[in-house]
């Protein structure tokens, strides 16, 4: 029941005074119902220039072939697959937030799931374009599908992880889109019922005719729960399969059984970092401080710290197993990784992914917005380097020293990567402009149970013990959205 109060000891998930259902709608729809501000336009122009660069680079690659990239005979996979794995990994946090945290009944997910899911979809789009582009002849991409063909009915090889990947990524993309859009229906209906004219018509079509009756909501909740239930193993399977692209090969440095869990942890790690990067800005620019509170930021930082540590253990385990295997190829691959010509990439990865997240053990850093943002960027850089290190350093010195080579990216490699970031931000900014960035219906659920104003009311009415009230108010010290006067027992 909505009247169920949660323990006073829990941090509030909504802060601010006079939070009513209509205030939530008004606050969240400000960017959707008004003309965008200057910050949005500047961001959008820069991002769409990036997207144009991406269009050019992809066009160039399709026209001239994969030779446009810096690949050579020894290093046949480099920035393309690095970019692919990086983007897919970033996508995973969205599903984790919307599905896993729903199964665990983590209510703090309610205000960040929508934008995290949007991020998932846009990141997977970026990843998918890399897969398309690296096929070289993209117009033959359908060869990856199990279609009867004119080559004597030779079907695709279902034993190959690359074919698994085709199924995994396309399932993941379409199911994420479905999950996201189903969740959007009630919020689009809200926009529709407040709009007039053409806007109402457009949002009316998009809302599928949602009316919020009892039966609709009941089925909606059933659908959300089951989608969460199937998305959870799905997201784990997707990155497992991505890791098997490498792990089932015979390349030293790749064929290790630790890859699936290690990749999944890395994906959650980088995904949460990207959510943090986006939301810290969005909450500031769009005045969402009352809905995305310090508790959300701190919780995400804790997950970044945990998954960063898992990734760190995985790096060390890899080194240990390489030594323990007594296989000289394996040992050399790792020796070369740590101290070979790409040592700088390896140590950048180690610093960004293993050492820097450990700073989050300090509460001061964990609850500092500036530090969280900088560290989230550091993690994103580190995770890009992780994929680069795994892919390039394992390939560039193969079994015959005469064919050893280095990888130098071409201009197109660089513009394709920067361009894909442009595509991502273009889509994300359009999303912020046209759709509610916070799931309004889900946040409304929290008003009566976990908002600061309700908890304040409980304290005022002397329904909680003094110690508990003090504990609660003390936990608000890190909140930037709670004024000083709201943290003292005497003044409440």
């Amino acid at each position: 029941m909505s009247s169920h109060h949660e323990s006073i000891l829990r941090e509030p998930l909504i802060t601010g005074d006079n939070i009513t259902y209509s205030k939530i709608t008004n606050d969240i729809l400000v960017p959707v119902e008004n003309k965008p501000n200057k910050a949005w336009w500047i961001g959008f122009i820069i991002a769409s220039l990036g997207a144009l660069m991406w269009v050019f680079s992809v066009g160039y690659t399709f026209w001239f072939g994969i030779g446009a990239w810096g690949l050579n005979k020894t290093v046949g996979w480099a920035w393309d697959i690095t970019g692919f794995v990086w983007w897919v990994g970033i996508g995973h946090a969205g599903t984790l937030i919307s599905a896993v945290l729903l199964l665990f009944r983590q209510n703090w997910r309610n205000s960040i799931n929508r934008s995290a899911e949007a991020m998932t979809i846009f990141a997977v789009i970026c990843a998918a374009t890399y897969v398309g582009a690296h096929m070289g002849r993209v117009w033959l991409a359908y060869w990856a599908l199990p279609l009867p063909n004119q080559f004597g009915s030779l079907w695709v090889n279902f034993n190959s992880p690359l074919v698994w990947d085709v199924f995994a990524i396309s399932t993941y993309f379409s199911v994420s889109l479905l999950f996201w859009y189903t969740g959007l229906l009630p919020d689009i209906a809200t926009i529709r019922d407040r709009a007039t004219g053409l806007r109402r018509r457009v949002y009316s079509i998009l809302s599928f005719g949602w009316n919020g009756s009892v039966k609709t909501w009941q089925r909606f909740e059933a659908v959300s729960l089951i989608l969460a239930g199937v998305s959870t193993p799905l997201v784990l399977s997707v990155h497992t399969i991505v890791s098997m692209d490498f792990a089932t090969s015979v390349i030293p440095g790749w064929h290790t059984t630790i890859f699936p869990p290690y990749f999944v942890a890395g994906a959650i790690f980088s995904g949460f970092a990207m959510v943090q990067t986006l939301l810290l800005i969005a909450r500031k620019v769009m005045n969402f401080e009352n809905y995305i509170t310090m508790f959300h930021i701190e919780s995400m930082n804790k997950i970044i710290m945990l998954t960063g540590s898992i990734v760190g253990v995985a790096y060390l385990t890899e080194l240990f197993i390489a030594w323990y295997s007594v296989s000289e190829y394996e040992q050399y691959a790792f020796l070369n990784r740590v101290s070979g010509p790409y040592w700088w990439a390896y140590w950048t990865m180690m610093t960004c992914n293993v050492i820097s997240p450990q700073l989050f053990w300090f509460k001061k850093i964990r609850t500092s917005i500036a530090a969280s943002w900088v560290l989230s960027i550091v993690v994103n850089i580190g995770m890009w380097f992780e994929r680069f290190v795994i892919i390039v350093t394992s390939l560039h010195r193969d079994y015959i020293p005469s064919s050893w080579a280095m990888f130098y990216p071409s201009v197109i490699d660089v513009t394709l990567f920067i361009g894909s970031i442009g595509v991502f931000f273009t889509l994300f900014l359009l999303f912020l402009r046209f759709l509610p960035a916070i799931a309004m219906a889900e946040v409304k659920l929290l008003v009566k149970s976990s908002s600061h104003q309700e908890k304040k009311q409980l304290i005022r009415e002397d329904k909680v013990s003094k110690e508990e009230a003090e504990y609660y108010l003390e936990s608000l010290n890190t909140y930037d959205s709670v004024p000083e006067s709201d943290r003292e027992l005497a003044k409440i």
């Binding site: 029941m1 209509s22 698994w164 009630p186 809200t190 009316n211 909501w217 059933a222």
Partner: protein
Amino acid sequence: MSNTKYILAHFDDPDEMMYGIDKLQENNISIYDVFTPMPIHGIEAKLGIKRSRLPIAAFCFGITGTFTAISMIYYMLVYDWPMNIGGKPAFAMPNFVPITFEVTVLFCSFGMVFTFLFANHLFPGRAPRVMDLRATNDRFVIAIDPTENPYPDKINDLLKEAGAVEILHNERKYVSYE
């Protein structure tokens, strides 16, 4: 009597609305439907709405996906064109698990969501059958059919007592959307 098609009781608090439902039910007044901006937990039991059977549908779609994937792979790789890969058996079940799983999830999700949309008559372009525009924003609306409950004054009193902030006697069922 009047031309009232539906009586709409607006509440600005979900708990008061629940209390309103209790009040109406105590007086044997049937409720047509309730429109809310967010899911209300526990309302199904009150209104005697049965558990959704969507999970069963989801399971059926999922299992269909499982069998579709296994039979597709079996046909292609084992029956139609078995390949000799190092003398290993063509029916390499462990290798078929990932795709079988993905197709299961795909069928389950799409099947379930389309069933959900179908059951609720939701599709792009459908004219929204909305009784009150604020029901998707900040009002919790109980709709009562006056032909089944022909005592408007009693209903008014009951609802006011329960804390309704607004009571409308609408002459149209749905808000027009032309």
